[in-house]
């Protein structure tokens, strides 16, 4: 069972419907998150991100505050996962030579023939967006990047936002600090920071 009582099988069933709405241009949850508020935090609009790799290299943190998030209700639980497997993978298997992720942060778990679940280990993820690119192009786009507020320093000027080629990073209300693609939000809200910048 998922955190909100939805089983994996439910997710597999709902992914087709969710992917339809993604295909026709975004989900309501994203629009609803753009409330104005005096307290704001930096966040990535996953529909604007073009997976350039700078989230991994430009964050002021030694290990980027950006991590890959998985929207399970959008995922197709594909055997041939474009976010997990290298484009020229010899085999649909978990061998390191087949994996796209440079840090092996994604695990692949069998559910039922022919469906697989993909889980991100955030401790290993460096926010490079390679899997996001693969999943967006060849899958349903369930992998996406978010700035994790338990890691982010909330810099006055986000070093990644300065160089983001898609202008995908902006300040949003702290009341809804994440722009999650799927319906099933699993990331809790965070407390307002004591000061607006620590940098």
């Amino acid at each position: 069972m998922g955190k909100d009582g939805h089983s994996r099988r439910d997710f597999i069933q709902t992914s087709v419907r969710a992917s339809l709405f993604i295909a026709i241009g975004g989900l309501g949850a994203l629009g609803a998150s753009r409330a104005t508020a005096s307290h704001t935090v930096w966040q990535i609009d996953p529909f604007k991100c073009t997976q350039c790799g700078r989230c991994a290299t430009e964050c002021v943190m030694a290990e980027s505050a950006v991590k890959c998030i998985h929207a399970y209700d959008i995922c197709g639980y594909c055997d041939l996962c474009g976010g997990y497997l290298k484009p020229d993978a010899n085999d649909r298997a978990t061998g390191g030579e087949n994996q796209l992720c440079p840090t092996a942060a994604i695990s692949r778990n069998f559910i039922e023939e022919p469906y697989f679940e993909y889980v991100i280990d955030e401790a290993l993820c460096i926010g490079c967006a390679k899997c996001v690119k693969g999943c967006t192009a060849f899958g349903n786009g369930s992998f996406h990047l978010q700035i994790r507020h338990d890691r982010c320093l909330d810099c006055n000027e986000c070093a990644i936002a300065r160089v983001c080629p898609s202008e995908a990073i902006s300040r949003i209300s702290i009341k809804k600090p994440y722009l999650i693609k799927g319906k099933f939000e699993v990331i809790p809200s965070v407390e307002p920071p004591k000061s607006s910048s620590k940098k």
């Binding site: 069933q13 709902t14 992914s15 087709v16 419907r17 992917s19 339809l20 295909a23 026709i24 241009g25 073009t50 997976q51 350039c52 790799g53 700078r54 991994a56 290299t57 197709g76 639980y77 594909c78 055997d79 041939l80 996962c81 474009g82 484009p87 020229d88 796209l100 440079p102 039922e112 023939e113 022919p114 490079c128 967006a129 390679k130 690119k133 693969g134 967006t136 192009a137 060849f138 899958g139 349903n140 300065r162 160089v163 983001c164 080629p165 202008e167």
Partner: protein, 318 residues
């Protein structure tokens, strides 16, 4: 002398600071960064042998600002679904009529004087002049209708949400349903990770795309598998990603025209699965990833509905 030395030192330091600031500012400008060390390496798959491109694009029909949702061709008319409306245009691009619809349809099949529209979870039957004939019974909350085809007095409907093909008569009476299992012992039938599930009829035979298997499957009307071909590969011969070919249609001469998402490419195959050639090669000059919907005219010309650029592209054999 000492003061002069300090002055020169200060000037050098100031110049150095200015140079560093300017270089930093320039290098921070978007688009001025070096290569992405984490780039997804798929460039090689965009390169195709030019000799394999057997079609040329001769026309583009712009559809304005509204996102198109579906396409069919019949009897010298193009039927384009827009949000809650249907635009009928000539193959040359002249707008012939605009019909308001009761709901948003995502797929259309035109057969003679009748149009069948897939409204997410129910079918609507209309006359080609726009008159509504009947809205068929809803297929429930999970249903996502992605394709419709017909032969004689039977209508086949692909429901991606429930991973099944439904067979109706032309009055909307459900005659049967099947989930695409190959044998009774098979663990699964149609594998449909996203809302791409196409079918077509050629020479009285029903062909269904099994996108998760990269397969084209030939069924009897009752859903008994007669034959199939499948090709998984990022290379030009095959289909890649979770759900391809995302779109498919069959030309009057039996050529299968397939359209893929991810590596957006349109190709022509024999019914045996042998690649004939390329209609539209993949390009990596844009962020387009949606598979164009494809329709064919009597001469085998291919209309491709480009969802990313709101236009119909027309390809003919070279």
């Amino acid at each position: 002398m000492k003061n002069k030395g300090i002055g020169i030192f200060v000037v050098v330091i100031v110049v150095l600071i200015v140079v560093v600031v300017v270089i930093d500012a320039l290098s921070n400008r978007t688009g001025k960064r070096g290569d992405n060390p984490y780039k997804l390496e798929i460039d090689q798959y965009y390169k195709v042998d030019p000799a394999m491109i057997l079609y040329k694009e001769i026309r583009q029909i712009k559809l304005g600002d509204v996102k198109p949702l579906g396409l069919d061709y019949s009897n010298d008319r193009l039927y384009v679904l827009l949000n809650k409306s249907l635009k009928i245009v000539s193959p040359r691009g002249e707008e012939l009529s605009n019909i308001n619809l009761p709901d948003t349809a995502r797929c259309i099949h035109v057969s003679g004087d009748l149009m069948y529209l897939g409204f997410t979870n129910y079918v609507g039957q209309f006359h080609i002049d726009g008159r509504q004939i009947k809205l068929w019974e809803t297929l429930g909350e999970k249903a996502v209708i992605t394709s419709i085809a017909s032969k004689g007095d039977q209508v086949f409907v692909a429901d991606a949400g429930n991973r099944s093909v439904l067979r109706y008569d032309t009055h909307g009476q459900l005659l049967g349903e099947f989930g695409g299992k190959r044998n009774i012992d098979d663990l699964h039938g149609f594998v449909i990770p996203s809302a791409y599930f196409d079918l077509d009829v050629y020479d009285d035979e029903l062909w269904v795309v099994n996108p998760g298997m990269h397969a084209l499957e030939n069924y009897t009307d009752e859903g008994v598998l007669r034959g199939f071909w499948e090709k998984t590969s990022m290379k030009i011969e095959g289909f890649s990603g979770c759900c391809n070919p995302a779109q498919m249609t069959i030309a009057p001469d039996g050529t299968f025209i397939t359209s893929e998402k991810g590596l957006v490419r349109i190709k022509a195959y024999k019914a045996s699965g042998e690649l004939i050639g390329i209609v539209s090669p993949p390009t990596n000059d844009s962020e387009e990833t949606h598979a164009p919907e494809v329709a064919v005219d009597e001469s085998g010309g291919v209309f491709a509905l480009d969802f990313d650029r709101n236009m119909i592209r027309y390809f003919v054999k070279k």
